[in-house]
């Protein structure tokens, strides 16, 4: 699999908050059309890793490249190009609370792509159906939804414009197992059938097994282990073993 050029890469990326070192010369690559899952304990810098690639935080050192070009790269540069083709789910969903559910989902279509509201709403309803939400929620406001429903609206917003690269920060956290399975299958479908690249964060080993081509374990600001799903059970890395063990306990 070495042949494929990485579509996204972190090279020696360091990030501090105050005096606290969160990422310590992190190296990570994602190949085009593959699904990478980042795992790791709470507070180990998983969300920060995504936000750095999305240009929402600046690295203190190191480079991040998208399609070989350095991010952020100026006004019309690589970062804008990444936004064009990316679908992002934030950990806290980050829905616009002054807009209805369907206006949230259709936000990019209306405000960036200049689509008419009617066409955009139809696309939004279709995306909502993919994340198993009823059309009836379309006219509600985010504050009227449960946490899991908000998460799914965030997912719908991320996939509505048929992105090439997906960034999902804990897509199944807070969902019941049936819905979580459906979301996992949706991600697999997007990657396998539509050829998307996916970078997902999850705590759930079971979910990782379903959606990942590759898994990277983040610990103490570095990738301490990286391998395919099949390698997961053979890994001797203590952080990985802890995750696999507790994942197996959850499954029973």
């Amino acid at each position: 699999m070495k042949a494929r050029a990485p579509i996204l890469e972190w090279r020696g990326v360091t990030k501090r908050f105050g005096g606290k070192l969160v990422l310590d010369r992190l190296d990570l690559t994602v190949a085009a059309g593959r699904s990478l899952v980042i795992m790791g304990g709470s507070g180990q810098g998983k969300s920060v890793t995504l936000k750095l690639a999305l240009g929402l935080l600046r690295p203190d050192a190191g480079k991040i490249r998208f399609e070989g070009r350095r991010l952020p790269g100026g006004l019309r540069g690589a970062q804008q190009r990444l936004y064009r083709v990316a679908g992002v789910l934030f950990q806290g969903a980050a829905l616009f609370d002054s807009l209805t559910v369907w206006e949230n989902v259709a936000f990019r279509l209306i405000n960036a792509d200049g689509l008419g509201r009617k066409v955009a709403k139809a696309a939004a309803l279709e995306a909502l159906e993919q994340v198993r939400l009823e059309p009836a929620v379309a006219d509600l406001y985010p504050s009227e939804l449960s946490g899991g429903m908000q998460k799914r609206v965030g997912l719908a917003r991320a996939i509505v414009a048929r992105p090439k690269i997906l960034f999902f920060d804990e897509p199944t956290t807070g969902l019941d197992p049936v819905t979580a399975d459906a979301i996992n299958l949706l991600i697999v479908d997007l990657v396998k059938r539509l050829g998307c690249t996916a970078v997902s964060i999850t705590h759930d080993v079971g979910s990782a097994r379903t959606i990942a081509d590759e898994i990277a374990m983040l610990d103490q600001g570095k990738v301490v282990w990286r391998g395919s799903v099949a390698d997961l059970d053979q890994s001797r890395d203590p952080a990985v073993r802890r995750f696999v063990r507790s994942g197996a306990r959850d499954a029973t």
Partner: protein, 265 residues
């Protein structure tokens, strides 16, 4: 050599230096923000729906408070001028000074202050909450520039509606003076009105409206700037709202002085 000076003697110098650097960073970031806000406001594409919504929120909804402020100010001004004028046996000067004071100074400044209280804090809280819940980050990843979608409509609404509010305040303020003068100071209604109209010059009104446009920019800019930079959750949002209000107020008075002295020469 620096080592020849005891470190304790340097600490006041350090403090002054840090303060200066901090101040320069602040002015720099504010200037940069204002520049980006203006560029987004004055160039296409515009989010027309957002601009319209903000014009209603910023301008139209402020009509009652601005109107009430103006009528009472005009009335009180007339009474004061009557008292002051009486000391020179010049009570008949009331309509002229009321008109001048309202149009050149009080209508724009008071309308701007009411806006600072009503709107700057609201804008800062709205945008600050969006910052705290990553909605602004989300907007960027959705290929939508928050400066165009959030900042520009508010600034445009401020620049466009505060002059209109001021024009309304001009009329209501002068009417307030007229009301109290004819009802309790014994002025003839027609003569008072005629004195006002004959005295007032277009520049009195225009200069006030120009001030208002600048104030409208300041108030909405302060709301956006402090909201955009809010850090630390709900507490940060509260702080941003207070700062936006206080800074608007101070900057309104400072700018008022600068503009007035420019207009005077």
């Amino acid at each position: 050599m620096a080592t020849a000076v005891p470190l304790t003697l340097l600490s006041p110098v350090n403090a002054v230096g840090r303060l200066t650097l901090g101040l320069m960073a602040l002015v720099g970031s504010l200037a940069l923000f204002a520049f980006r806000g203006l560029v987004a406001s004055l160039s296409l594409p515009w989010y027309g729906g957002q601009v319209l919504r903000q014009c209603v929120a910023v301008g139209f909804m402020s009509l009652p408070v601005v109107g009430l402020t103006a009528v009472f100010t005009g009335a009180a001004l007339a009474l004061n001028i009557y008292t002051g004028g009486g000391r020179f046996n010049a009570e008949q000067i009331v309509p002229q000074i009321v008109a001048l004071g309202i149009t050149r100074e009080l209508a724009p400044v008071l309308a701007a202050l009411m806006l600072a209280g009503r709107v700057a804090a609201t804008i800062a809280a709205e945008i600050g909450a969006m910052r705290a819940t990553e909605q602004i980050d989300a907007m960027r990843t959705l290929s939508t520039d928050p400066f165009r979608y959030l900042v520009a409509p508010r600034i445009l609404a401020g620049i466009a509606t505060l002059p209109l509010l001021t024009a309304v305040a001009d009329i209501i303020g002068i009417a307030g003076g007229w009301l109290v003068s004819t009802l309790s100071l014994g002025f003839n209604p027609t003569l008072y009105a005629r004195a006002t109209i004959e005295f007032i010059e277009p520049w009195d009104v225009t200069s006030g409206l120009i001030k208002a446009a600048v104030f409208g920019f300041i108030v909405t800019l302060m709301g956006c700037y402090h909201g955009y930079r809010a850090v630390g959750g709900a507490r940060g949002v509260g702080r941003a709202a207070t700062r936006a209000m206080v800074w608007s107020g101070v900057l309104i008075f400072a700018t008022d002085y600068v503009l007035t002295s420019l207009f005077t020469h």
